[in-house]
């Protein structure tokens, strides 16, 4: 046994706060995200115009006083569409990542806790993993029709096995921890042990995974748009604004430039945040930063 006093880990929030100070990139990422979220939340207020309002005579107007980001082929205001699209894209990201996280965590906890469930559940997860995620998403969306629910489900299903595997592995490690044994020996009910002693230990890697899933979901939504099975243009999202503008790439580059910029910058920020989180939260990596 080691006799070197390993520095212990302070609570999550304080670690995050100290991380922000030490890592300027992380602070910038957070700032960008806050701005994007605010712009989406108050899209109606900021944009002023209806993202759906068609005005055939204003087809492909270049960015200017009338249309800040220009207009698309139906004369719709791209600025309004991008801001409103942010609502949908961010919602897809958050919902898909949350749903995958919740279901995956549940599946992982069950699989990690009960052998029989493990055998069955992990076969099902294997089955899901076997189908390339975009193809599964295309199938689901084209089968039930594009809506916020179907797209969120389509994007989240392929992510579930990944989360389940992660959580399952964490559970298998954590349940060998002495404090879990201690809890069991105190006759604390199984579900309470899982809830209080095992689940909290899974949260840090889950948070990291969440950020990656969030970013991936936004990208996948865009790819679905590219493949023609994304949101209908009645529901603007970054993905379908880009897809709509794709064919006018040379004629009206603003049609994909602005939504593309919003999308990439957001995804970039989320990824940067995820990386910082991982560096902060991964005890093995964090320990490397603080020599014993």
């Amino acid at each position: 046994m080691t006799h070197i006093e390993t520095p212990s880990r302070p609570p999550l929030l304080r670690r995050l706060a100290s991380g922000a100070v030490r890592q300027p990139t992380m602070s910038i990422a957070v700032l960008v995200l806050v701005l994007v979220v605010l712009s989406a939340m108050f899209a109606g207020l900021i944009a002023g115009t209806d993202p759906l309002s068609i005005s055939p005579r204003d087809r492909y107007t270049a960015p200017g006083a009338e249309f800040l980001f220009g207009s698309d082929q139906y004369g719709r205001d791209i600025f309004a569409r991008v801001l409103h699209g942010g609502q949908i894209s961010l919602a897809v990201g958050v919902l898909a990542a949350s749903l995958a996280a919740v279901i995956g965590t549940l599946a992982g906890l069950l699989a990690g806790s009960f052998r029989i469930v493990d055998a069955i559940l992990m076969r099902v997860m294997d089955g899901l993993m076997a189908i390339p995620n975009i193809l599964l998403a295309v199938a689901i969306v084209s089968l039930v029709g594009p809506s916020l629910l179907s797209i969120v489900v389509a994007i989240c299903i392929p992510e579930i096995p990944r989360v389940a595997r992660l959580i399952r592995a964490m559970v298998l490690t954590l349940r060998e921890e002495p404090y879990v044994f201690a809890a069991i020996s105190m006759s604390i009910p199984r579900w309470k042990v899982v809830l209080r002693h095992i689940l909290p230990g899974c949260l840090a890697p889950l948070a990291v995974q969440f950020s990656y899933m969030f970013a991936a979901a936004i990208l996948t939504e865009a790819v679905l748009g590219f493949l023609g099975v994304g949101f209908p243009s009645e529901i603007p999202s970054w993905g379908n604004v880009i897809a709509d503008g794709k064919s006018a790439f040379q004629r009206a580059p603003w049609c994909i430039l602005f939504p593309g910029l919003f999308l990439s910058v957001t995804v970039l920020a989320v990824n940067v945040l995820g990386d910082s989180l991982r560096d902060r939260l991964d005890p093995r990596l964090a320990a490397r930063r603080r020599p014993s």
Partner: protein, 522 residues
């Protein structure tokens, strides 16, 4: 070292192989407007399969540029005075790609099969007495009642086209699809190189005997000037444009005016407006509320401005026109009588009609096929105008397959049915009141939308019997007037796409469907 060796071998192979391939053959690499999958042109109404049919098969008649049917495989024909007997003689020297001569028996078998599968064909079948091969080159069609547009029907370029196929293949097919793609057309289909959804290869039919007349639309001389035509499907129009710019393909059948902006001014690229025009149409569900009431359908029509639709979905005024004719403006039957959609939206009129109809805020469901480029914009624009008129509109988006299934549902709107859907048609499909599906009068048994009207049905019968173009035109005007009163469908404008090609390719011949004979490559 292994890499450099490999590279050396590769280089050597390329040097030896390249000139061999290039010298001998003229290969036209072209991008069709859609990917070819089904090869039997009598099974599907897909335009790409019809175009494939014109490569491989020949027709008895073909439309010329005045939309007058001209003999193609037929050398002589005659009709009896009473219009009940038609006799045809095939041109000498016609041969299928497998070497067998084209006989009257083949033509008879082909027409019989066509009459079970085509809308117009079926109408003929209804009045058919007999169709018989009289000799190797002569056959007769006898009718129980006159059918004035019989020859037009045999020349019809709209799907499904009465192509002539070998009898043995038709017999082998039974109820199903033909297994062998063998015709007597200008190109021979290379079955071994067919990759569904990817590429199809045709080689010159060396034994093809073109007619002497100058080519005119689908009639006249079908000269083959290249040795091989490769159809390459592109899933992405941007890539298509780039490939043409780089000269990786020689010809792109159809390119939208938006995509055209990508290749405009690119060196070595030329383009023409196509003859074929496309007409998006708005189709209403007659069976269910609120549009079981003609007044409500008229309210929809009052809100449609073709100009607005075209401006928004097509954009370039050079390529679209407002057309008041239900038969397309290229059609000899074109007329402006009682036209729909040719004026600005009239919310007042619409509201008045809705009030008359007693519209009570029932839900109006618009179906949208989101993965089909030519459908883009139709649903949202319709939705916006109908909302302006005060209708309670919901747009349902889905992929095309679901769309087709959904559009076939006759259920009430509240139980998953629909109110308004769309179609996009090549001009030949609208051209005749007989083949124009939108004028279907069979009600719940007929074409989606389930329109029915006895008066229109009898007008169509009159049309079929009409013997002169003038008589036909007069009846057509009546048909349009009646159809538009009841709002069978609303055309949303007519637009053309471009065909683009490298400058070493001669411009494709004009025709209402894309034809690839008469093209040369230098």
């Amino acid at each position: 070292m292994s890499f450099s060796r490999l590279a050396a071998i590769a280089l050597a192979t390329a040097l030896v192989a390249a000139p061999l391939a290039a010298q001998e053959q003229k290969v036209l690499r072209m991008v069709p407007h859609a990917s070819l999958r089904l090869l039997d042109p009598l099974t599907t109404t897909a335009y790409v399969t019809r175009n494939h049919g014109y490569m491989v098969y020949d027709t008895l008649f073909g439309y010329d540029e005045n939309y007058v049917p001209q003999p193609q495989m037929v050398s002589d024909w005659s009709a009896s005075e009473d219009g009940l007997t038609y006799s045809f003689t095939l041109r000498p020297g016609l041969a299928f790609h497998d070497g067998a001569a084209v006989t009257a028996a083949d033509a008879v078998a082909s027409l019989q099969r066509w009459m079970t599968r085509d809308l117009t064909g079926r109408k003929i079948a209804a009045v058919l007495g007999a169709i018989t091969a009289d000799s190797d080159t002569e056959f007769t069609i006898s009718l129980t009642a006159p059918f004035g547009s019989l020859v037009e029907a045999l020349a019809k370029p709209s799907s499904v086209v009465p192509f002539i196929m070998p009898k043995r293949i038709i017999d082998a097919a039974g109820d199903g699809n033909v297994e062998e793609i063998i015709g007597s057309g200008p190109y021979r289909f290379v079955a071994e190189e067919f990759r569904p959804g990817v590429s199809a290869v045709y080689v010159k039919n060396e034994n093809y005997v073109p007619r002497d007349e100058a080519p005119s639309y689908l009639a006249g001389k079908k000269d083959v000037l290249v040795d091989r035509v490769e159809w390459l499907t592109f899933p992405d129009d941007q890539t298509t444009a780039n490939a043409l710019t780089k000269g990786e393909v020689d010809l792109v059948e159809a390119i939208s005016s938006d995509t055209l902006s990508m290749i405009e001014g690119a060196p070595g690229v030329e383009y023409d407006l196509r003859i074929t025009s496309n007409t998006p149409t708005l189709r209403i569900n007659w069976l269910q509320k609120p549009f079981d009431n003609p007044k409500m359908r008229q309210a929809v029509a009052a809100m449609i401005s073709q100009d607005d639709f075209m401006a928004a979905t097509v954009g370039d005024p050079e390529t679209y026109e407002v057309c008041g004719s239900l038969f397309g403006c290229d059609s000899p039957l074109a007329t402006d009588v009682n036209a729909l959609g040719t004026s600005a939206p009239d919310p007042e009129k619409a509201k008045a009609l809705m009030a008359e109809a007693g519209y009570d805020g029932e839900k109006v469901v618009i179906l949208d096929a989101s993965d089909i480029l030519s459908f883009r914009g139709l649903a949202p624009i319709t939705a916006q105008y109908l909302r302006d008129a005060g209708m309670n509109v919901e747009v349902q988006s889905m992929d095309f397959s679901t769309y087709l299934a959904q559009r076939n549902k006759q259920d009430p709107v509240s139980e998953g049915g629909w109110s308004i859907a769309f179609g996009v048609w090549n001009s030949p499909d609208l051209m005749s009141p007989l083949s124009n599906l939108n004028l279907d009068t069979e009600g719940a048994k007929g074409y989606a939308g389930w329109s029915s009207d006895d008066q229109l049905a009898s007008l169509k019968e009159d049309y079929a019997r009409a013997s002169s173009p003038e008589e036909q035109k007069a009846i057509a005007e009546k048909i349009q007037a009646r159809a538009n009163d009841l709002v069978f469908f609303v055309p949303l404008g007519t637009y053309r796409t471009y065909t683009a090609y490298r400058d070493n390719v001669t411009p494709p011949l004009p025709a209402p469907v894309s034809v690839f004979w008469g093209i040369d490559k230098n």
